[in-house]
Symmetry: C2
Subunit: 156 residues, 2 copies
Amino acid sequence: MTTPLGSGREWTDPLCPVARTVDLVGDRWSLLIVRDAMDGASTFTDFQQRLGIARNILTDRLRKLVDQGILTTSTLPGGKRHTYQLTAPGQDLFTLIVALRQWGERHTFTPDEPHSTLVDHTGTPLPQLRPENHRGDPVTAETTRVRKVGEVRGPA
Amino acid sequence: MTTPLGSGREWTDPLCPVARTVDLVGDRWSLLIVRDAMDGASTFTDFQQRLGIARNILTDRLRKLVDQGILTTSTLPGGKRHTYQLTAPGQDLFTLIVALRQWGERHTFTPDEPHSTLVDHTGTPLPQLRPENHRGDPVTAETTRVRKVGEVRGPA
């Protein structure tokens, strides 16, 4: 078993998986860097041009993402330039990025307003990602419950 | 049609739905406030006790979430205390919160480490949320592509 990400760090809320994820990637630039890495950005210049972000902030966020095991870095031949690639846990943030994208599509655009679109290999947009229970029924915050650590197991 | 959230504001990256969502909720405290609102928190004190957050930061984030249409606030009889409820777009962040939770479970905990769990009405944990294409095949960043605005439509 590999060591989990963030081992040894102080978590905001150690028993909650939502909070641990937010501690690692819950800021706007980190999320947008992960988005761009999934879309092919790999050099400092790639990220800088896409994000229009101050160099010192980008340097800081890239270093944190590497330290946290979301990105890995390697040096190009010549030794001057680094490239950044998503690690396996970083690639697995795809579900989160899709959830951010689809909520934005549903709630922040008018129907006729243009926006980028995530498409599969046939050029077809992805269907909406929706949480379901083990029977395949759609669920919401109202029909689910967070079972806390130490709580007696039981229905929602 | 209702007005989309964030209408009239300056977006970091206006053509990208991921970036618009991140502009509205992409900071650690906003995401954790939404998490707690889904889990029944509704008063300032509820949020303060669960988050252990400084009062001025909580006040700021609650106000922003109300301004952005994620939360709505109402005054309790007596006029002193406010309660906060998720709006319909706020409730629809459930998919995003589930994605944050499940990634955290997969990558930030050891197998024997305790954490809270999202369960359905029978007490059964939710299955993993995974993006699929319209045929129901699992997809990743590698097998999808972001089609930019203005680009000729075509396969990934």
